[in-house]
Amino acid sequence: MNSLILSAATRILVALMLVFSVYMLLRGHNEPGGGFIGGLLATIGIVLYAIAHGSAAARKALRLDPLTIAMGGLGIALLAGVLAVLFGDPFFSGQWSFPFAEGGDKGFPISTVLLFDIGVYLVVVGAVLAIVLGLEEEV
């Protein structure tokens, strides 16, 4: 689409949406958000970019094929489940670690649950983009 306003606004908007999507992903465990919502937000951001600059530019910005991203996400989510088995728990039991935890403060929690949510995020981004970009190119 040849619109100066759209392409100028997109530059800022897309960056904001991507940062916000990561924010939504990370805060999901305690506040509204999570991998699915974050993934949808990021997807819409990239689709906006594709509308403004064309899907070829969007693909270039992604660097990876959307389906590769989706597969990678599925692999990461699976890894989160397998890690639990490696730690001796049933498949997909959440594994947590709390470095820098002091007293009631939980420090900086790291978990396979977050890893799983990142997988969900990537699956949503990759799968939806594969369809939308594919459709755009076909039209």
């Binding site: 465990h29 689709v47 949510d117 969900v120 799968a127 594969a130 755009e136």
Partner: protein, 768 residues
């Protein structure tokens, strides 16, 4: 696929080069025989303990919450099988290191073979029903890969698929049977189930359990009418046939019948079903064996005969019949594996397996001829071979069978007499008599090829002369395991002058007569076969064709490729299911008290209803989409009002995406004014109203039921202390129900792949 497939030619070329190479170098392929050999030695160390009547059990927890564990049991029965599997595995691996040396895919073959051995050992050692089932299926998969090893030929592919479908179908029945058995017994551990035979036989589910397990055993062990896949499986390389389709895998079904014998046997139905099917299979197969001209196929049918005989004897509960089954099992594994490998040698050295083209090979291949003679004598049941003991026991067992001793004994004598004739056809005819011209001029096979069959054949003689070597250490513990109580068995070469001995003499006379007249008999069988309307194999093809026609028909109806029809089917099904359920369960209620509505609620409802009406009556697609967006936003507002922010956000984002998607494809859609289906809209309207009405009634009825907050309370309570998260929705998604979410995202990926292919496919089709 037909034979004009170009890959077939390249495959044949491949085989030729492989054979040329193998003459020059054997290489290090023989190391494939080491793992089975080591395993056989390990199992042999368990012999003294088992002979003392002990059983060994190993437990590894797998899914303890469901009672599914990796438990392994070593008793007489499983040890007998394990020794046969590992021992014959070593012989077969050594043999194929010569015949398949230099084959492009030799190491792939070794992998398949060892994979199969691993699965088979798991099957016979498993003490948990589910563990047993998993290994059972693994053997089917391994068999598929091995039968289809020469996958460049259409025949191998078809045979592999047929074997997989038949045994896989039986496997499904088996799983159902195991689950029923597990629920009837209250445990999945076989060693516990074996001790509660009376309770299971009196259980209401006994009949379904019996038939389902039988379906698994009969398909695996190729009993009539599931026999047809086994001769076809001879498309596999000969060592594979020797291993899987005579000595081990097809005996999986027999093993299963023996294993569940203490729990399920002893009823009238068990007795009659096994005896009848076994006897019919045994006689039918031995007659058909005589009809074959290909040595390998003849052996395949004699294997069927052996499987039928084993089934027949397991039908009985008499100790002597079980002892006959166990002894014959061991005898058969020895001589049949040996004979298959000998046929492999003949094929390898002469280039043919047709009886008519073979004769007088003994001079050129003395060692092979000696092995063949020993194995065939054991097969025919001549003294002093182990086969003689096995046959005497069979006759004694047959006479002890409670149901119809005369019938069983007649079947056994007839089948054995035919065995004598086949032994002559396979081992006498090719090696003695007039020397015939063969495609290749034969000479003795290399060491690694003849050592195995000769060793097996000699064992048949040694155990025949000294039956004490196996009677206390293997046969008696195995009989004890099958009977479910301590049994005393003694094998001896000389049983005195009795009825079985007389039957043996009758067998030999009949057998020799069959051998002398086998050409005429074969001609007669060929004529009978031509009169038959269809063989089981052809009926299988017709069955598959019918299945394909059915699949194509229902796909055309349900998946016609018209979006409107898909939606119609989905919504009509929903409406029908809703109406029927409401009617049958009489669940439609009008709630006593409707919740209070505030002005906020009414506004949102108005928004949704207005949007829906606008969508239906909009004049253009753009307007319709915008109106639909209003509905979506209204629904999102409802989520916000009732405190589900996650769902609201998701709903809003999805609405946005839908708008984008529609905007992308908008230009390609036909104009609404020229809609060819406009006349059908009245039906759409009726369907829409029905679906809306049903959903409304259901929701109103739900209001009448008090809300059960158990699940909610559980998650509210556990979310923070166990999963360290305050957002319950997300904690459920990524932690409590992570496996479900994983399934869902896998579906998302698959859907994207499907859509991607469709989009790209359309593009390509348009370019052409």
């Amino acid at each position: 696929m037909d034979d004009s497939d170009p890959r077939v030619e390249s495959g044949d070329a491949q085989k030729v080069t492989a054979k040329v190479k193998s003459e020059s170098s054997i290489g290090i392929g023989w190391i494939a025989a080491l793992p089975p050999l080591l395993l056989a030695l390990v199992f042999a160390t368990g012999l003294p303990a088992i002979a003392d009547g002990e059983t060994l059990r190993f437990v590894y927890e797998w899914v303890p919450s469901a009672g599914i564990n990796l438990t392994f049991l070593v008793d007489g029965l499983s040890l007998t099988f394990a020794l046969l599997i590992a021992g014959i595995g070593a012989v077969v691996a050594l043999f194929s290191s010569v015949t398949l040396a230099g084959h492009v895919h030799y190491w792939r073959f070794v992998f398949y073979l060892l994979f199969f051995m691993f699965a088979m050992l798991g099957l016979v050692l498993a003490d948990n029903l589910i563990t047993l089932f998993v290994f059972w299926e693994l053997t089917s998969v391994a068999s598929y890969l091995l039968i289809g090893f020469n996958h460049s030929t259409a025949k191998a592919r078809r045979s592999a698929l047929q074997a997989l479908l038949v045994t896989g179908g039986g496997g499904l029945a088996l799983l159902a049977g195991f689950i029923l058995l597990g629920s009837a017994a209250g445990t999945y551990e076989l060693s516990e189930i074996m001790t509660m035979g009376d309770a299971i036989r009196d259980h209401a589910l006994y009949l379904p359990i019996f038939f389902l397990i039988l379906a698994g055993a009969f398909t695996k062990s190729a009993q009539v009418p599931f026999h047809f896949w086994l001769p076809n499986a001879m498309a596999a390389p000969t060592p594979v046939s020797a291993y899987l389709h005579s000595a081990t895998m097809v005996k999986g079904g027999i093993y299963l019948l023996a294993r569940v014998h203490p729990a399920l046997s002893g009823t009238e139905i068990w007795l009659w079903t096994l005896t009848l099917f076994g006897a019919v299979t045994a006689v039918f197969a031995s007659v058909l064996a005589l009809r074959q001209t290909d040595l390998k196929l003849a052996l395949a049918y004699t294997t069927l005969m052996a499987l039928g005989t084993l089934t027949m004897f397991l039908g009985s509960g008499a100790t002597i019949a079980i002892a006959a089954a166990v002894t014959f099992l061991i005898v058969h594994s020895f001589y049949k594996a040996a004979l298959f490998l000998i046929v492999g040698i003949i094929d390898y050295r002469t280039g043919t397996r047709e009886t008519a083209e073979l004769g007088g090979l003994a001079k050129a291949m003395p060692l092979t001829a000696a092995a063949a003679a020993a194995a065939a004598l054991s097969m025919a049941g001549f003294p002093p071979f182990l086969g003689f003991i096995g046959k005497e026991l069979k006759y004694e067992g047959a006479l002890a069978v409670a149901s119809e001793p005369l019938f069983v004994a007649t079947a056994a004598v007839l089948a054995n007499a035919l065995m004598v004739a086949i032994a002559g056809v396979v081992a006498l005819k090719p090696f003695y008599g007039r020397r015939l011209e063969t495609p290749k001029s034969p000479h003795e096979a290399p060491l690694f090829m003849w050592i195995g069959p000769l060793g097996l054949a000699v064992l048949g003689l040694v155990f025949g002369l000294m039956p004490g070597l196996i009677s206390a250490s293997l046969v008696q513990p195995a009989v004890t395991a099958i009977a479910g109580q301590p049994e005393e068995v003694k094998l001896a070469l000389w049983h005195g002058l009795n009825l079985p001995l007389l039957l043996s003499v009758v067998t030999f006379v009949l057998g020799i007569a069959f051998y002398l007249g086998h050409q005429k008999l074969r001609g007669f069988l060929v004529r009978v076969e031509q009169r038959l309307p269809a063989t089981a194999d052809q009926m299988w093809d017709r069955f598959l064709d019918g299945l394909k026609v059915l699949a194509a028909w229902q796909t055309r109806i349900l998946q016609g490729g018209i979006l409107r029809r898909y939606l119609f089917v989905v919504f009509a099904t929903t409406a029908l299911a809703g109406v029927v359920t409401l009617y049958v369960t009489d669940a439609a209620r009008w709630p006593d008290a409707l919740p209070d509505f505030s002005i906020k609620h009414l506004l949102v409802v108005g928004l949704i209803a207005g949007g829906a009406i606008m969508t239906v009556f909009a004049g253009s697609r753009l307007a319709a989409i915008c109106a639909l967006g209003v509905v979506g936003m209204g629904v999102a507002l409802i989520f916000v009002i009732f405190g589900a922010p996650d769902v609201a956000i998701t709903q809003l984002l999805v609405e946005t995406l839908v708008v984008i998607l529609v905007a992308v494809v908008m230009l390609r859609l036909p104009s609404l004014e020229r809609d060819p289906m406009k006349g059908a809209r009245i039906f759409d309207a009726i369907l829409a109203l029905v679906v809306g009405g049903v959903v409304t009634v259901i929701l109103l009825s739900v209001l009448d039921t008090p809300l059960d907050r158990t699940v909610t309370a559980y998650f509210e309570e556990k979310s923070m202390p166990e999963a360290f998260g305050r957002n319950i929705v997300n904690v459920i998604l990524v932690d409590f129900r992570a496996l479900d979410t994983f399934g869902e995202i896998a579906v998302v990926v698959v859907a994207a792949l499907g859509a991607y292919v469709l989009i790209k496919g359309t593009k390509k089709a348009k370019q052409q």
